[in-house]
């Protein structure tokens, strides 16, 4: 096209057929409408990690709800003659120091762990979300007060705070444990929500809604929260796993769930006595715990990738 021997280049015009003109700002009417949530779902659906983790979580929840379906052996009918016994027919994972079936104890211990985790995560998310949203949105004095209170609780390590508090509480049911964990864990969610709300609050669509005459609270509910909630969902999923660990830690230390309740943490704690002679007694509840936590962390990861708009843009 351009002649090589001369500086002045000829006027070149491409044939119209090469690039047929499209109407200016053409809208493809055949494409399917996609909301951000539908987009996120599409992105998650393609990840094997999503199916593995959610499958695992469903299984764990099912075990927690109806443990009887998964084990016909009673976890509380123990015979000392079986103490630290090796696996045998009907008892695939062997026996604990007290002579109880390890498999049955894991199955029946699921409920307590999962209850504490889910309950604590729900409380923390709900409370942190509301508090963080209000603080970030209204700002000023409310924000200052809420943020400082949050900082106070944030400064205390969850497990340490829980130990102190639980040592004075007489009744240590799963609900109590979940509440105690929540007291020290909500500031994290509140902080994240506050930050996300601060970003969303300053966006143009919020200013546009103000100018349209939408009330301030309605803007918070309709525009700000939906646009700020994604990181909270991710952190809620991830923290569910860490709350289960927190419960196990507390129970392991003997300060978690009361003696009447079965849980993985308690079993791990009790297995300490026989760790040299029969380490498998410690191993199996630990595996159950790790798998559960891993499942929630994995799901959190997938959610983060799917909900993070920047990650979406990169795809």
């Amino acid at each position: 096209m351009p002649s090589k021997n001369q500086g002045a280049q000829p006027h070149f015009v491409a044939a119209l057929e090469d690039t047929p003109l499209v109407a200016i700002d053409h809208l493809d009417e055949t494409a399917k409408a996609r909301s951000t949530w539908a987009d996120a779902w599409d992105a998650m659906r393609r990840r094997p990690a999503f199916w593995i983790s959610s499958g695992l979580i469903l299984l764990i929840v099912a075990v927690a709800l109806i443990p009887g379906w998964f084990s016909s052996v009673s976890p509380t009918q123990c015979q000392l003659s079986d103490s630290n016994g090796v696996p045998q027919s009907g008892h695939p994972l062997g026996f604990t120091f007290q002579g109880c079936d390890v498999y049955a104890r894991i199955i029946f211990g699921t409920s307590a762990s999962v209850t504490v985790g889910m309950l604590a995560a729900s409380i923390v998310t709900l409370f942190g979300l509301i508090v963080g949203a209000l603080a970030g949105y209204y700002g000023g004095f409310l924000d200052a007060v809420v943020s400082r209170i949050g900082d106070i609780f944030f400064a205390v390590p969850t497990v340490l705070g829980a130990i102190v508090l639980l040592s004075v509480l007489p009744d240590r049911t799963p609900v109590v444990i979940a509440l105690v964990i929540s007291i020290f864990a909500w500031p994290q969610v509140a902080r994240i929500m506050r930050g996300a709300v601060l970003t969303a609050r300053n966006s143009d669509y919020v200013v546009a809604s103000v100018a349209l005459g939408v009330s301030k609270f309605k803007i918070l509910v309709r525009h700000v929260v939906p646009n700020a909630i994604a990181p909270v969902i991710v952190i809620a999923t991830v923290s569910l796993g860490t709350f289960i660990v927190a419960e196990a830690t507390l129970s392991f230390l003997g300060i978690g769930l009361g003696p009447g309740t079965m849980s993985w943490g308690r079993d791990i704690g009790e297995a300490q006595t026989s760790i040299r002679t029969s380490p498998q007694v410690l191993l199996y509840p630990s595996i159950a715990l790790s798998l559960t936590v891993l499942a929630f962390l994995m799901l959190g990861d997938v959610l983060r990738d799917a909900l993070d708009p920047q990650a979406r843009a990169r795809r």
């Binding site: 006027h11 491409a14 003109l21 200016i24 809208l27 409408a33 996609r34 143009d204 005459g213 795809r315």
Partner: protein, 582 residues
């Protein structure tokens, strides 16, 4: 300016010289989950030493991708899938990373698009420039500092020596762009690629920088490859022009020849839509046989058209719908500790807007024009002064009355990507004001949404879409539809078309003009772009540093500007006096 134009045009390379850069059948694609999506399809261009070439096209046309392919800085998953890039006879596409490093900076300089994000905020300016110098020359120690100062001074920062220790946030946009140009030219490259080097800057700063670039390239014989969306800039600053559309070149050759006499239908479209000072106000002229509106008719003899203009003049003789008297807005900016700095964003501004007319407020960044819009919209409180709407003071309106005011004065914002909630589909977005003011039943609101979509020329199916699926122009239509939902009297358009491609911008301006005629709307049009003002405004207020320096009818301001500042603004528009072939 005319002088400058002729100067660049007559500058032809010495006969028989070899091309500096030759791109042959370049193909660039981006890898996605659905395979490779082509972005540049068979682009060929030639650039001789000392020449300036401009690539123009709308966003997504592949112009930036072409430039990035030349210096092998393709973003993300981009890759050259075919063709050659010959730089002094060497094919850059087959060069390895180390050899390419030697070419970048030393042989080919690059000035990136956004001066705000392309300097590292944690390093001072001196460090960032000397880094480039060290990388591209053997210099070490003292001479580096001397050269750094020299480079910055050449780029137009006279007090460079004192500014080396300063950080990017202490520099204005124009100064940062000078730093980037300095870095780009620091190693005296043979070719400088400048990707929209001035599009984020005010016109007067843009002019200074382009003049400066022209001097530098003339002194050192550097070839320049401009990437721009501004046809005026291309006409004024480049002797060669390449027009890209959908990844292909549709027209190329001497720029003034193309722009004066465009051949390809796409180029013709572009040129027709390019606003310039020679344009006249758009008049909505409806044909009897269809709703088609003629674009930018240059003040015709059509009787209907004259009638419309007369109508507007008649309306203009009435009372002011909005009257602004001596408004002032002071911001208190917190400094260290309890000390505050006072910033007078708007200083004693007065003007009136008549019903059914368009008043434009023009000014550069920081002139206070957007603050005026916010004050009128009651989004910010006045420090002093008075704003009247239909003769009533609107300051301090509360509750019901404020709601009624909001119903009648609606805004449309600049950023079409930010002003729509990404979680809301279009139908809900447009229905929101109706819901907020409890207008009609669900069925009636639904009907109104469809009617509004039709008014902004979007198909009914758009109501189920989400903003992320729409283009900038389409989003701006949605924003306009939402603003119109409550049948307001006034639209405050704050840079409403500034972020759009020129063709889309033209469409939106037409739409606005049609709507004004059909619905008797009054517009307050806030913009930095004088050429656009000429197309839509009846009256203009020119703002500078919080004050109105000149206010008059559009023709008056453009034909005989009285204030020096207005004259400067007009003179700084690139290609302002170029006769585009329409």
């Amino acid at each position: 300016m005319t002088q400058l134009v002729t100067e660049t045009v007559n500058k032809t390379p010495p006969a028989g010289s070899e091309p500096l850069l030759e791109v042959r059948d370049l193909e660039v694609g981006f890898r996605t989950q659905r395979g490779i999506v082509p972005a540049v399809r068979g682009v060929s261009l030639t650039l001789y030493p000392g020449q300036t070439l401009a690539i123009v096209g709308e966003s997504g046309s592949g112009k930036t991708t072409t430039a990035q392919a030349i210096i092998k800085l393709l973003a993300g998953t981009g890759q050259v899938t075919g063709g050659q890039i010959l730089f002094e006879g060497r094919d850059l596409t087959i060069l390895n990373a180390t050899d390419m490093q030697a070419v970048r900076g030393r042989e080919i300089g690059y000035v990136p698009q956004d001066p705000m994000s392309n300097l590292n905020p944690v390093w001072n300016i001196g460090f960032q420039v000397s880094e480039a110098i060290k990388a591209n020359s053997g210099l070490r120690g003292k001479p580096v500092r001397a050269r750094t100062i020299e480079v910055l001074q050449e780029a137009g920062l006279a007090d460079a020596a004192d500014r080396l220790k300063q950080y990017p946030h202490q520099f204005s946009g124009g100064m940062r762009q000078r730093v980037l140009i300095g870095i780009g030219l620091s190693a005296r490259p043979k070719l400088l690629i400048a990707d929209e080097p001035t599009s984020a800057l005010d016109v007067t700063v843009q002019r200074q920088i382009l003049d400066h670039l022209a001097t530098l390239t003339r002194d050192y014989g550097t070839s320049v490859l401009f990437i721009t969306h501004d046809l005026g800039l291309a006409a004024e600053r480049a002797e060669q022009l390449v027009v890209m559309y959908k990844g292909k070149i549709v027209e190329s050759g001497p720029s003034q020849e193309i722009l004066a006499n465009p051949q390809h239908p796409y180029t013709q479209r572009l040129v027709a839509a390019a606003p310039s000072l020679a344009s006249r106000r758009i008049q909505a002229k409806k044909n009897e046989d269809g709703p088609a509106t003629e674009i930018f008719s240059a003040g015709g003899t059509d009787t209907a058209l004259i009638q419309r203009a007369t109508d507007r003049e008649l309306a203009a003789s009435g009372k002011d719908l909005i009257s602004v008297e001596g408004i002032t807005k002071m911001y208190r900016i917190r400094k260290s500790g309890l000390r505050f700095d006072e910033l007078l964003a708007v200083n004693d501004v007065s003007f009136g807007v008549k019903k059914g007319t368009t008043t434009a407020i023009v000014g550069e960044s920081g002139s206070g024009k957007s603050t005026v819009a916010k004050l009128i919209l009651q989004l910010e409180g006045l420090t002093s002064g008075r704003i009247e709407f239909e003769g009533r003071d609107v300051a301090g309106l509360k509750g019901r009355e404020l709601l009624n005011f909001r119903r009648r004065v609606q805004p449309v914002f600049q950023d079409p990507y930010g002003s729509l909630d990404p979680q809301y589909n279009v139908g809900n977005t447009i229905a929101e004001p109706l819901l907020a003011h409890k207008v009609g039943t669900k069925r009636e609101r639904q009907k109104r949404v469809l009617q509004l979509l039709d008014q902004v020329s979007l198909p009914a199916s758009t109501q189920f879409r989400y903003p992320s699926e729409l283009s900038g122009g389409q989003r701006q239509r949605i924003a306009i539809a939402r603003a119109l939902a409550l049948k307001p009297d006034v639209l405050v358009l704050d840079e409403a078309v500034s972020a759009l491609d020129v063709l889309v911008q033209g469409q939106i301006l037409n739409l606005l003009t049609e709507l004004q005629t059909d619905l008797g709307l009054t517009y307050l049009f806030i913009t930095h772009d004088l050429a656009v003002v000429r197309l839509v405004a009846d009256n203009v207020c020119v703002m500078q540093k919080g004050r109105i320096v000149e206010a008059s009818s559009t023709d008056d301001v453009f034909d005989n500007p009285r204030e020096v500042y207005t004259q400067e603004l007009l003179a700084a528009i690139p290609g302002a006096n170029f006769e585009f072939g329409r």
